[in-house]
């Protein structure tokens, strides 16, 4: 059967451009447009969003013609453990304080690699925490509280 085959990389990319373009277009729509001579806050972004959608369509069309490289494996474990690290730091740096937040951030991120052993991760995280505490809190005197109110301060 000779159906249309879509290259996965470019197909996704085209769809992604279109989706982003539509998001910004929708968000611009509720803003004041103004006129070409006296543009409102929505004018320029709407124009750009339209261009992005057009480019997306172009990429999508190309995807049906040329086959490129496949997407390849995805770093699921990495995404699951790396991405929450800064979020966790953000959620706890004020509450738990700088020292525990840094420790847990480094500790969580460590396990993104299958090669990391628990003991090595612990040693590494303690080291990083200690170093950061010395440099940023002691050395540079940044306004971070080492231990936060959640721990009774």
């Amino acid at each position: 059967m000779k159906s249309i085959r879509i290259d996965s990389t470019n197909g996704l990319c085209g769809a992604f451009f279109i989706a982003c373009g539509l998001f910004f277009a929708y968000q611009s729509w509720i803003l004041d447009m103004g006129t070409a001579l006296r543009m409102g806050p929505g004018y320029f972004p709407l124009l750009l969003a339209a261009v992005l959608v057009l480019l997306g369509i172009f990429v999508l069309v190309q995807a049906t013609r040329v086959q490129g490289e496949p997407i390849g494996p995805l770093a699921w474990r990495g995404m699951l453990l790396i991405l929450p690290a800064p979020i966790f730091f953000g959620l706890t740096v004020r509450g738990l304080g700088f020292v525990p937040a840094i420790f847990i951030t480094a500790f969580t991120a460590s396990f993104a690699s299958v090669r990391m052993k628990p003991l090595a991760a612990l040693t590494l995280s303690v080291g990083v925490t200690f170093f950061s505490y010395l440099v940023f809190s002691k050395g540079l005197n940044l306004p971070f509280r080492p231990f936060g109110p959640w721990l009774g301060f």
Binding site: P41, P45, V59, I71, A75, R77, V93, A106, S113, S132
Partner: protein, 503 residues
């Protein structure tokens, strides 16, 4: 001659034992903090600023702070090259080819090239400042809103050349970057846009957070993809120093990069990033082997790195001669001057000649110390790469969390890091390049703001862009670039590159 007298005054001020010591401490601290991943020049200076308040003498304090700035710049480039983690907009360009060189086992050569280019650019631009600070200021003042719009049009058109894959995708990345840059509050009307109602994003997305996400985190994720069958990022390291061939190839790019960076660095806002990008574009166009760009071309490190450092230097000009900071780093310097009892303004050169010329002289001394300090350190940095990656990236995650948070104490910036991490990883999977995205991100708000301001100032007359001579010249240049980009011959060359890429 007055200039000679001034320079002598400057060097005698800057080379007292104390001032040399402060310059050295500044350069050293700047390098050490700036080299931590995710911590660029702005964050480093913000962190080290309070230390300089303890220094009683304003000249020493400012010399140290200037040293911190160069050190941080260089430290930022080091992390851009070693782990693809640019801490500042201008080193985003260095990351493109620098990181590829590192992956090819040529980290040492890349770092040495950056150091040599920076030193040369620093030397030239120091003398430019001494000679032409005043006339250059006059040129910068001629840049109104219309001129900025035209300049950014040139920048955006040239950015297409940054792409080493599909041109369409590169254009998409620029446009998406422009849109992301508009997140925040509209300057003209004060209306919040695209921030999903989150007040913490009212001032836009933090550049460092976005850059750390799309470059650094995405790269970490990519390295974690195939842990079992691929041993980590680096091939065998060969040669710490550039070869004779390398030197031959880097000479001209360093010269051109210095010229471009010096000129664009004076302009407020996007000067530094435009300088680096422009240099990259020029080198790629002029190179005999454009196909190497994006895969570790030494020209792609030498040119932008020189432009970067030259621009960093000349961005002092508007602050020293007009008292106007043109970027966040200079705003911090201005704040430091005020705390030391010197209000930056047009009269600093005449009222405080030893301070003015002392800082200029210390720029060169700082650059000298930097290269003396860093050439021997290259071996150490390269050793860092032999540390297994699974040890390296938790450290990277910890430091970039601290670095991003320290700038504004805004935890929402950390959520941006995570979001743009996955965003950047998705882009990588779709074979879209992050560099044009970042250029668009920086230029987006400036382009829109100046476009609308130009229209307000011209009372709604669009001919303002072609009746003002500088603006008209820039638009002609933009047209010329456009022609070159779409010229058949060039297109063919590009096609070859593309074919090779997908082969």
């Amino acid at each position: 001659m007055e200039l000679i007298d001034n320079l002598i005054l400057g060097f005698t001020t800057a080379s007292t034992l104390w001032n040399l010591l402060f310059c050295l401490i500044g350069v050293l601290l700047g390098t050490l903090i700036g080299v931590l991943p995710g911590i660029g020049a702005t964050a480093t200076i913000a962190m080290l600023l309070p230390i300089t308040f303890q220094i009683g003498d304003p000249v020493s304090a400012l010399i140290m702070l200037a040293g911190v700035y160069y050190g941080a710049q260089y430290g930022g480039s080091t992390t851009a090259i070693l782990i693809n983690m640019p801490g500042e907009s201008s080193s985003a360009v260095t990351a493109i080819d620098g990181y590829q060189m590192a992956r090819n086992g040529r980290a040492g050569a890349a770092l040495a090239t950056a150091a040599i280019g920076s030193f040369f650019a620093g030397t030239v631009s120091t003398f430019l400042i001494a000679l032409f600070a005043i006339p250059l200021t006059a040129i910068a003042l001629k840049f109104g809103a219309a001129e900025f719009v035209s300049l950014m049009v040139v920048g955006l058109i040239s950015s297409i050349a940054l792409a080493h894959g599909s041109v369409i995708k590169a254009m998409g990345m620029v446009v998406l970057g422009l849109l992301l840059g508009l997140v925040g509050t509209d300057v003209i009307s004060g209306a919040p846009r695209f921030n999903l109602g989150i007040r913490e994003y009212a001032d836009g997305l933090n550049f460092v957070a976005v850059a750390v996400g799309v470059f650094g985190i995405a790269e970490i994720l990519r390295n974690l993809e195939n842990e079992h069958d691929r041993s980590v990022l680096i091939k065998k390291v060969h040669g710490l120093m550039p070869t004779r061939e390398d030197f031959r190839r880097m000479a001209a790019p360093i010269l051109r990069g210095t010229a471009l960076g010096s000129v664009l660095g004076i302009l407020p806002g996007a000067g530094a990033i435009l300088g680096s990008f422009a240099s990259y574009t020029v080198e790629k166009r002029m190179s005999a082997h454009p196909e190497e760009f994006g895969k570790g071309a030494i020209e792609g490190v030498a040119g932008p790195e020189s432009a970067n450092n030259a621009g960093a230097q000349t961005s002092f000009i508007p602050m020293l001669t007009l008292g106007i900071p043109t970027n966040p780093v200079m705003a911090l310097m201005a704040g430091a001057m005020i705390i030391q009892g010197i209000v930056p303004g047009p009269n600093v050169a005449t009222e405080q000649p030893s301070l003015f010329w002392g800082i200029i002289a210390s720029m060169w001394i700082g650059n000298l110390l930097l290269i003396v300090l860093n050439l021997p350190l290259i071996g150490l940095w390269v050793k860092l790469l032999t540390v297994p990656y699974y040890i390296l990236f938790p450290i990277i995650m910890a430091f970039c969390s601290i670095g991003v948070y320290s700038v504004n104490s805004n935890v929402y910036d950390l959520y941006v890091v995570a979001f743009f991490g996955i965003f950047g990883y998705a882009l990588m999977k779709m074979r879209c390049e992050p560099a044009p995205l970042l250029l668009g991100f920086v230029l987006g708000p400036l382009l829109e703001e100046n476009l609308r301001r130009a229209m307000i100032l011209s009372k709604g007359d669009p001919t303002t862009f072609i009746t003002r001579p500088i603006s008209a010249t820039l638009l002609v240049l933009a047209a010329a670039v456009l022609v070159i980009v779409f010229l058949p011959a060039v297109k063919k060359k590009r096609a070859e590159v593309f074919v090779e890429e997908s082969a």
